[in-house]
Amino acid sequence: MSLLSVQNISAFYGPSQALFDVSLSLNEGEVLALMGRNGMGKSTTVKSICRMLNAGAGTITFNGRNLRKLPSHKAAHLGIGLVPEGRRCFTNLTVEENLLAAARSGAWDLTAVGALFPRLSERLHQSAGSLSGGEQQMLAIGRALMTNPRLLVLDEATEGLAPMVRQEIWGAITTLTRDTGLALLVVDKSLKELRQVADHAVILERGASVWSGTMDTLSEAVTQKYLGV
């Protein structure tokens, strides 16, 4: 049984339909890349999975539990940790307070997050609002990990960051996939890095899933056609 199973979901923003029959599935410990050009429905899919947006039709199950009727905090309680697009740290709290505000018991604690992101350990008492963009992204990942999730959803985690910082974030993602049994759903445009960390991929085009398969089978023709790279 898949850890996360999304079957033929649709989603709407008011009267506008944003998703059409999107399907994907992810097993425990696997990494799934969700790809597509801008505006193709990646973030809408993430919002539907995390219950920040009501799916119009179709089914979303996590660990065998139907998510459709659950509010977003219950989805998080079941083990879905979200690193939202644009980081969105609580800027009036310190780094430590951001992490503790989200903390639930489990393997991920301040020490474990500090080991993954040493820069956060150095800035524990600094206001989150005063961190650089990269550090805020590390904090957003750390905050999601502090909920001790079974699935970590990374929505554009490296967008708008300097190359050095992106490398650091990808390094942390690689560590997560290598050293933990955490399942990851990664939304990103960096094909090269995604090829290194992901087992499977789903490509969205105009709100519909148009390609899915293992990373090995993702040909240049497909990426050229749907991603333009």
Binding site: H73, H77, F90, E97, A101, A102, T147
Partner: protein
């Protein structure tokens, strides 16, 4: 030690030393003024948990202040007249014991805050302000139309309630009780702000949607905060009624809610000692300017205007810097 911690320490020393000086100088009126300031500060610390930590602009906190006051008034008036509050189905008698009155005031205002919060917190922004205001005014008009407990004239208690081992009619001894309670509540409020609950509440103030994605229910957090806030304000109401030995519908009025909010804003919203600084200044202005003119609130209004326009962090924020200290 941060500048805010140093300021807080100065405030504690001031609240400790001024009444002692007044006792030495034989100025019991100063002790009573300080007691009033400390009780209002306590009400402010209560509201500040909802307002400063939770971002809940409640214009109905006088409801809890009044409930605490009337809990004291009703219990003490029955004790003084030797008439039970009710006989059937079971006997409930009045009491002159301060600790018992405090417990009942806290429970009553806590239950009211839970009920009012459960309904009000389903709304946000101006609707939340209006609903809390409406609840406060409902209780205000109810107390006016309740002749059994004085109606519009209020209710006088002839002798201050008792506390084991202390003579509560002695101003300095009554002040000692209030001071200890204020310090205990400040320690509690400080720890609450630093606890995972307080941090999550603070985060929910910034973005309720975002905290939901890390598994936190902002409604539940806010309801708990609102209830705790109401309980502390209710305790302050009971002490205020004991200080004056009088309760009246004014305790429920929206002006009371407004005054508490005004001195929190003057002292510093979300700052641990903001309500303390604000309450002391409020009492000082009332005493000093009130002697010069009946319209002293005009000067208070000007001060509020200046602080809102030029010193958003209140007096503590201006003196201690923008960064909110949690120590």
């Amino acid at each position: 030690m941060s500048r805010e911690t140093a300021l807080n320490a100065v405030m504690v020393m001031g609240l400790f030393l001024v009444p002692l000086w007044a006792l030495w100088a034989d100025e019991p009126f100063i002790i009573t003024l300080t007691t009033k300031a400390a009780i209002l500060a306590l009400a402010g610390v209560g509201l500040n948990i909802a307002l400063g930590l939770g971002g809940l602009v409640s214009l109905g906190h006088a409801a809890f202040f009044g409930l605490g006051g009337y809990a004291m008034g009703i219990l003490a008036s029955h004790a003084q007249s030797y008439a039970p509050i009710m006989e059937t189905p079971f006997l409930i008698e009045g009491t002159k014991s301060m600790p018992v009155i405090w417990v009942i005031a806290i429970i009553t205002s806590g239950l009211a805050a839970l009920a009012i919060g459960a309904l009000s917190l389903r709304t946000t922004g101006v609707y939340f302000i209006m609903i809390t205001l409406a609840f406060g005014q409902m209780l205000y008009f109810f107390s006016i139309s309740w002749p059994a407990y004085g109606g519009e004239d209020g209710l006088s208690i002839y002798v201050r309630n008792g506390f084991p081992g202390l003579n509560t009619l002695d101003p300095i001894q009554f002040y000692a009780i209030v001071f200890v309670i204020l310090m205990a509540v400040l320690v509690f409020a400080g720890r609450l702000a630093k606890s995972p609950f307080g941090l999550a509440l603070n985060a929910a103030r910034q973005s309720p949607e975002r905290v939901e994605t890390v598994g936190i229910t902002s409604y539940k957090l806010r309801l708990i905060a609102f209830t705790i806030s109401g309980m502390i304000t209710g305790l302050a109401g009971a002490l205020f009624a004991d200080l004056n030995r009088f309760v009246s519908p004014t305790m429920f009025s929206w002006q009371t809610s407004g005054e508490i909010m005004v001195f929190i804003i003057i002292g510093g919203v979300g700052r641990l000692f903001g309500p303390v600084v604000g309450a002391v200044l409020f009492i000082l202005l009332e005493h000093l300017l009130g002697g010069l003119s009946d319209y002293w609130h005009v000067y208070l209004g000007v001060l509020l205007l200046l602080i809102v326009l030029f010193a958003r962090g209140g007096l503590i924020g201006t003196l201690a810097g923008k960064e909110i200290s949690h120590d």
